[in-house]
């Protein structure tokens, strides 16, 4: 019997989701996409619900995406950032969360630089918590929108070959995608400078390729990760120039993948570093679809967590 709702109060990671739950979220997102194409992009489904976005790390895309998703469902949204919250005044994360809880929100969306911070909060407060990215751990809605984007193009996820290339060590996007795609039956290969490949990453469901070329050969999907070059250059790899030679995606390397392979990137892009401009803007790039799908996936998640029983209430 197909699932019709999520039973948990929180969405903390792909790790906690079953393949059926992932499918439910993607199917619901698919159905909700239509709302964003209407003249009046709003349905009353979450009217009277209060959603707080609590971002303790800079973000444009994810926060805006959650905000738009919530507003299209008529929820009231409030946003707190690290600097505007009391955290700068020495209040602990827990105290801030409890104070938010006391104002009776229905859902708190948290981004935090410490891995596990949303889990820590979720365990201690009643409202649901969505992890919008925690440290180097997980970014579940990003993986869900990536899966939706790929499923849109191929009609399926199982049997596909996904290559993830770049800074795997610091990447929560990589961790969530490795777990998500492998749960849905895709084969995931990863490659990156050895200093940026975390030990035992195969435990998450990925196979480590010795070179980028090997990872992307015959791939259906290539996901490039952002290089935070300011922080990493010198200590993890010699130079951005050399990085681009060995781990940058250009047209020549792209030719190793399947002819219709998709090129993805969670953004923001360092053009000319991990991805060449012509590839980023080329016909195989679905980078902008990812952003569009982000809204649909987040609407689905909000709806399934606090929208009452079933997805069909959307209209």
């Amino acid at each position: 019997m197909p699932l019709i709702s999520l039973t948990q109060k929180d969405l903390l990671g792909i790790e906690d989701l079953t393949p059926e739950e992932i499918k439910l979220i993607l199917d619901t997102a698919e159905m909700l996409k239509e709302i964003s194409r209407r003249e009046i992009k709003k349905v009353p489904t979450l009217r009277g619900k209060t959603i707080v976005t609590f971002f303790f790390e800079s973000s444009t895309r994810t926060r805006t995406s959650f905000d738009i998703a919530a507003k299209r469902l008529s929820a009231d949204t409030f946003s707190l950032t690290g600097s505007s919250s009391s955290l700068t005044k020495g209040e602990t994360l827990l105290d801030t969360a409890r104070n938010l809880e006391a104002m009776n929100p229905d859902l708190i969306i948290i981004r935090h630089p410490a891995s596990g911070a949303p889990h820590f909060v979720a365990e201690r407060i009643k409202p649901g918590v969505i992890n919008a990215g925690d440290g180097m751990h997980e970014h579940p809605t990003q993986a869900l929108l990536d899966m939706l984007t790929v499923r849109d193009r191929f009609g399926r996820l199982d049997g596909l070959k996904l290559a993830i290339v770049g800074d795997l060590f610091h990447s929560r996007v990589a961790r969530s995608n490795i777990m998500g795609f492998s749960k849905m039956g895709a084969k995931v290969m990863v490659a990156g400078p050895p200093s940026l490949v975390p030990p035992f990453i195969q435990h998450l469901g990925a196979e480590v390729a010795p070179t980028m070329e090997e990872a992307i050969s015959g791939a259906d999907v290539i996901m490039m990760l952002r290089v935070q070059n300011e922080r990493l250059q010198g200590a993890f790899f010699p130079s951005v120039r050399e990085y681009a030679v060995f781990y940058g995606l250009d047209r020549k390397k792209l030719a190793l993948a399947k002819e219709n392979a998709l090129v993805m990137h969670p953004g923001p892009i360092n053009r000319g570093v991990e991805i060449s401009p012509d590839v980023a803007d080329g016909p195989q790039s679905v980078i902008m679809d990812q952003v569009t799908n982000g809204v649909a996936v987040r609407m689905a998640v909000l709806l399934l967590l606090i929208g009452g029983r079933a997805g069909e209430k959307a209209n």
């Binding site: 790790e15 410490a114 961790r175 035992f200």
Partner: protein
């Protein structure tokens, strides 16, 4: 005032004694030990109180060579009074407290303060371990000579390992002159850096930065080389990895003066305990893999690891009820150490005498303190415990001021019945 402990099985690992004996205590000292019933006539004397140790083990008061009592400076976590109460509840009669107090115990005033507080309030012998360098900063040696005159037996920068090998060499040479035991917390901090748990599949899964086993092993290898170079003995604190056991084993085989301790959590838990971002499983060195746990047990069995010490590290919820990265390292251990050590006996890793040696005479000998053995004429520091009695760990009942133990609710066997320190009962179940 005389006291008689009768009908117990007396185990004194130092003298290989394991026999049914009665122990007579007089004026805080062990007056005599003799076959059961030998003191029968004395019992008629109203001045003699008897303690029945029927069905129990009677052993030297336990010695914990690595605790943090937090006084002075962090009395909200633990004090000398509460810390030694916790020690007594765990069967300990002597503890060596590390120097990372506020201010750091790097001078005579702080040492005198601790000793004076202990004289007035402690229910166990307190041996302050002084810092090896001023402020535990790794640059300037402390006044070890003067400190040793006050009674300091050991020096260590514990959680702030001396990165500079030359300073470490000089500190060892200088400490050796005064017969001070040098204790090293081995961690190459340039390698462990921002790590918060063992580097392995759990750290990768949780997205936490790892501390590789090599961070510990590199410095143990260095300390072994320096002990060989200087001829001054080195004691390695809280060994946690299989590689460390191997390095210490080889050094011992070579005749290098090196000793080592581990803590009960390193043979009771693995890095899996961190799953769910459990800050009660956050400590430094971190919990390692099951292969490391197996090697630690083997090292204990082979006497590569001489002692078991708790690294009792009290923290309040202010330091522990936080996101994992921000939480403090360390757990309390005094009140669970004996039961956890007895699991090694129950599973055949150690025999009872060997296990008790690691909690009594071995640490006492490493610190060169008069403790850890039952000697006629010596201080009556005695622990009585029931080795098979089931216990459920209940942190709410701890005598310690802190509650940061990952063992809450654990079902173990072995219960402390009574702790006697200088002839006086300091704990009674």
């Amino acid at each position: 005032m005389k006291r008689l402990i009768e009908h117990g099985r007396v185990i004194d690992p130092a003298s290989s004694m394991d026999d049914f004996l009665d122990i007579l205590i007089e004026d805080g000292r062990i007056a005599a030990m003799a076959a059961p019933g030998a003191f029968e006539t004395l019992k008629l004397d109203a001045q003699v109180s008897t303690i029945s140790a029927q069905g129990c083990i009677v052993c030297p008061g336990l010695v914990d060579m690595h605790v943090h009592l937090r006084e002075p400076g962090e009395e909200y976590k633990e004090t000398i009074a509460t810390g030694t109460k916790a020690a007594a509840a765990g069967g300990f009669t002597a503890v060596a407290c590390m120097a990372n107090t506020r201010p750091v115990n790097d001078n005579q005033s702080v040492t005198e303060y601790i000793l004076e507080k202990a004289r007035r309030e402690a229910v166990a012998a307190v041996y302050p371990v002084a810092a090896m360098t001023v402020g535990q900063k790794g640059t300037q040696l402390t006044e070890m000579g003067e400190l040793s005159r006050l009674g300091v037996k050991a020096v260590s920068d514990d959680g702030h390992p001396v990165e500079d090998a030359l300073i470490m060499r000089r500190a060892m040479e200088y400490a050796g002159r005064f017969g001070l035991t040098v204790i090293s917390h081995c961690e190459t901090t340039s390698l462990s850096k921002t790590g918060t748990m063992h580097e392995g599949w759990v750290s990768t899964k949780l997205g936490l930065e790892g501390i590789p086993a090599a961070a510990e092993e590199i410095m143990i290898a260095r300390e072994a080389s320096l002990a060989e170079l200087t001829g001054v003995p080195i004691h390695i604190a809280h060994v946690s990895t299989a590689g460390s056991v191997e390095i210490i084993r080889r050094a011992k085989e070579k005749g290098i003066p090196i000793t080592a301790e581990t803590a009960p959590h390193y043979f009771s838990l693995t890095h899996r305990a961190v799953m769910g971002y459990n800050t009660l499983a956050k400590m430094n060195p971190p919990l390692r893999t099951s292969a490391d746990v197996a090697a630690i047990k083997q090292g204990l069995h082979d006497n590569v690891i001489d002692a078991i010490a708790t690294d009792h590290a009290p923290h309040s919820i202010l330091e522990k009820d936080l996101e994992f990265n921000a939480a403090a390292n360390g757990i309390i251990g005094l009140e669970t150490a004996l039961s956890l050590t007895l699991t090694l006996v129950q599973t055949g890793v150690l025999d009872l005498s060997q296990a008790l040696a690691k909690l009594t005479c071995h640490p006492a000998d490493i610190l060169k303190i008069p403790a850890g053995r039952l000697v006629v004429g010596g201080s009556a520091d005695i622990t009585i415990f029931q080795p098979d009695q089931p216990v459920v760990v209940d942190i709410q009942k701890f005598a310690s001021k802190s509650r940061n133990s990952p063992f809450d609710g654990w079902k173990l066997q072995g219960k402390v019945i009574m702790t006697v320190f200088r002839g006086q009962t300091t704990y009674s179940a």
